[in-house]
């Protein structure tokens, strides 16, 4: 049908925005154009695809003004013709068809599946300059029919040869383990606990990273106040936003990030700074200033927090553990940097007996104290991997896709609370 209103496909150009920002004057202007999609289905239900595009700007000043889908003129462009940014900018591309095929394939094999993707472009203008960056992430998660708990989730990378068969096999193994799972006995509270490669990155994120985000550290998080050596000297924790999924090469204030060593030689050795906190400590931003979106203020945030690889052969760590717990997946966590503690929801774990994995365990909650837990790390494997533990981090109401990494790690002390 011929509609009386045809959608104009041109002119669209990101260059027009660049020119506008360069001529906008001294005010700092942040513009984001984010496309996101989710494709989901389960056996017996229709496949649904949700796509959404967020275009918005935060324009510096007193007060800072945030606007949804502003006109080009609002960010320094010409007054005529009036054009919304959503009509000017090239829409960030998504790979929905690939996600749809994966989801269809998994549903055909009897699994529930959800594909989630985002592609964000940002522009930071001010003082006649413009910085740009792009962040993107794709992941897929699988569930068993009738059970909303995620069985397996995986980050999808451009060169990954992931097929529904490979993913379905992993989901099948996990479903089988879950069906055999038994509750952790009341007498089994405590360590040691071996974390599969990647998983201990979440511990570093919650216990170390949150305490050393500079606004938190400056308000006196327990870790920031810890001057004495408390962790093994071989343990190094680093935050490098250029690694992992949703990496960034320019933060939301236009600063290129540098890797920050947070923990070294058994002590705290760094903090994550945005421009405001850098000013407070008379330092320079480390490029960790991020916004949850154009409506949110900048906060110092983690990018990819990881534990550096050690020199212990990873395969020997479980073998050298006579009795304990092997954690394969954690699905959620909550940190209290002031008290130096965090709770973690363990959703996939096995009992270790005689150096072997013997019994699958039902979900449970562990609580870790930063000084006690990191101080009890006695084995760090040589098998560093990223993004086996996936999640969004929410701080002060701002969600952000973050990344973690770690080798196989053993802690001698954990507290199982349920």
């Amino acid at each position: 049908m011929e509609l009386p209103f045809q959608v104009s496909k041109s002119p669209q150009s990101n260059e027009a925005l660049g020119e506008a920002l360069r001529s906008a004057g001294p005010r700092a202007i942040f513009v984001e154009d984010r496309a996101q999609a989710s494709v989901g289905a389960s056996p017996g239900t229709p496949l649904t695809c949700r796509t959404f595009r967020v275009v918005g700007a935060a324009i510096g000043g007193d007060p800072e003004r945030s606007l949804s889908d502003p006109y080009l003129e609002d960010v320094g462009g010409p007054r005529r013709p009036r054009m919304r940014l959503s009509r000017v900018l090239d829409e960030p591309s998504l790979q929905i068809s690939e996600g749809r095929e994966l989801v269809r394939g998994l549903v055909d094999m009897g699994w529930g599946a959800r594909f989630v993707e985002f592609n964000q472009k940002i522009w930071v203008g001010g003082e006649g300059t413009v910085q740009t960056d792009g962040r993107r992430s794709r992941r897929i998660e699988m569930t068993a029919p009738g059970d909303p708990r995620v069985l397996v989730d995986r980050v999808l990378r451009a060169n990954d040869a992931v097929t529904p068969e490979v993913l379905g096999e992993a989901a099948g193994r996990q479903a089988e383990r879950r069906s055999r799972a038994r509750p952790l006995g009341a007498t089994e509270h405590g360590g040691p606990c071996v974390f599969a490669p990647g998983v201990a990155g979440l511990i570093a994120h919650e216990l170390v990273g949150h305490a050393l985000e500079a606004d938190v550290a400056l308000r006196g998080s327990r870790l920031a106040l810890q001057s004495a050596r408390f962790a093994p000297v071989e343990l190094r924790v680093i935050d490098d936003p250029t690694l992992g999924r949703a990496a960034w090469r320019m933060d939301d204030e236009g600063t290129a990030p540098i890797p920050v060593t947070l923990l070294e030689d058994g002590r705290v050795s760094g903090r994550l700074l945005d421009r405001a906190t850098a000013k407070r400590v008379r330092g320079v931003s480390t490029g960790h200033g991020r916004r949850g979106g154009y409506l949110d203020p900048v906060l110092p945030r983690m990018g990819c927090t990881y534990i550096e690889a050690g020199d212990v052969p990873a395969a020997s760590i479980v073998r050298d553990t006579q009795r304990g717990i092997f954690v394969r997946r954690m699905a959620g966590a909550h940190a209290d940097p002031w008290r130096g503690r965090a709770t973690f929801v363990v959703t996939d774990a096995d009992r270790i007996e005689g150096g072997e994995l013997t019994q699958s365990l039902e979900s449970f909650v562990i609580e870790l104290d930063v000084i006690e837990a990191l101080g009890s790390i006695d084995l760090v494997g040589d098998d560093l991997v990223f993004d086996t533990c996936i999640g969004s981090c929410v701080r002060l109401g701002q969600p952000l896709a973050t990344s973690v990494g770690a080798p196989t790690v053993r802690l001698r002390v954990i507290r199982v609370v349920s």
Partner: protein, 373 residues
């Protein structure tokens, strides 16, 4: 400054009508609905310049030709070409049950549900309130205007004012209806000394809020067992008309008239949350679903005598029948329970009701037999 007066509704209605006309042409559907939401927020954050945000978004639903399902798309902003583009490209768009699209002659041509609470903004009062307590991290006040254009071109207009703050050294959200700080708590408990917690356990409103929200989802949404036993203290109403409520209104987000609904009383479950009058959107991006509006828990004039009082609680669901309650403090305490035992253990309430950040209006709640360790 009176924000209600400064936020012109008429241009938004005209905008929404134009979007509706465009959506009808693009979809050729027998029934089309436009939901337009605009939010203006003013935020003060310690150590930063204030910020003023204007956010708008549009959602469109249209009935499929088979009349059995409803497609849904949403855009940031109110640009008609953008909406048309998104509708034309929508494939496998999420659908919701056709019953949630308000179609019929019984809908009045126009109805309004305007904020009755104070909508004047006194900036110096907000600054003074924030300066009084260094543990207040940020303060935000906001006014939302929602325009709904329905199948027969009827119009629904709703405005709401809300204020919230991030308070305390362990930041947590407090919220109230209206613009300003009146009604926000003036003391922020920060350290909870969790010595030996003994039964019964008395959860102050802020601690009860997350528990109420989790129990409502477990027992009053989805498949509901009417008549099953609950504790005497579990007296719960879904009240979209509550003048203190952060959510709700005289009509739901699909346009159906909304009314109070007793969910539980006298130790029994009376009803679930479903059907017309309960269709709410989590945000303008989401299609309306059966959801609670403002949950109001009945208050008694009792005191938590002999009970251990806690003012912070987190619910961690491990499985459908296995929850962990976390009581942050020194030391942090935990208890593993199941939703059924928890709702039956709700023996009584105490103190006056308060608006919680979880959306419930609840007094303190007393639970028997829940022993954190």
């Amino acid at each position: 400054m009176d924000w209600a007066a400064s936020t012109a509704i008429e241009p938004l209605v005209i905008e929404a009508r134009a979007l509706w006309e465009r959506a009808r042409l693009v979809s050729s559907a027998p029934a089309v609905e436009i939901y337009l939401k605009q939010a203006r927020r003013w935020r003060l954050r310690r150590g930063f310049e204030p910020s003023d945000a204007l956010e708008s978004g549009t959602a469109c639903r249209w009935q499929a030709r088979d009349r059995h399902s409803v497609s849904h798309v949403a855009i940031v902003g109110t640009d008609r070409s953008h909406l048309q583009d998104v509708m034309e490209r929508a494939t496998d768009a999420p659908s919701s049950e056709s019953g949630s699209l308000a179609v019929g002659k019984e809908f009045p041509a126009e109805r309004t549900d305007l904020e009755t609470q104070d909508t004047s903004l006194n900036v110096s009062e907000l600054r003074e309130w924030m300066a009084r307590d260094p543990s207040v991290d940020s303060l935000e006040v906001g006014l939302t205007t929602e325009i709904l254009i329905g199948a027969e071109s009827w119009v629904g207009i709703r405005t709401r004012a809300r204020s919230s703050a991030l308070v305390g050294r362990h930041p947590r959200l407090v919220a109230r209806r209206g613009l300003g700080v009146a009604g926000l708590p003036d003391r922020f408990e920060d350290t909870q000394e969790n010595g030996e917690l003994e039964v019964p356990l008395a959860l102050e409103p802020e601690a009860a809020g997350p528990v109420v929200a989790a129990l409502v989802h477990a027992f009053h949404l989805g498949s509901v067992t009417i008549g099953s036993q609950v504790g005497e203290g579990w007296q719960v109403t879904d009240d979209p008309l509550s003048v203190d409520g952060l959510a709700g209104g005289t009509f739901d987000d699909a346009g159906f008239p909304a009314s109070r609904r007793a969910l539980s009383a006298g130790g029994r479950i009376l009803a679930g949350i479903e059907g017309p009058g309960t269709y709410w959107r989590r945000s303008f991006r989401d299609a309306p679903l059966s959801l609670p509006s403002t949950i109001v828990v009945g208050a008694e004039r009792s005191a938590p005598a002999g009970a251990t009082v806690v003012h912070s609680c987190r619910v961690i669901p491990l499985a459908r029948d296995r929850w962990v309650l976390e009581f942050p403090g020194d030391p942090t305490r935990f208890v593993q329970t199941d939703p059924g035992s928890l709702v039956r253990a709700c023996r009584a309430s105490f103190g006056p009701p308060a608006v919680t950040a979880d959306g419930a209006v609840t007094p303190g709640l007393i639970f028997d037999g829940i022993v954190p360790r």
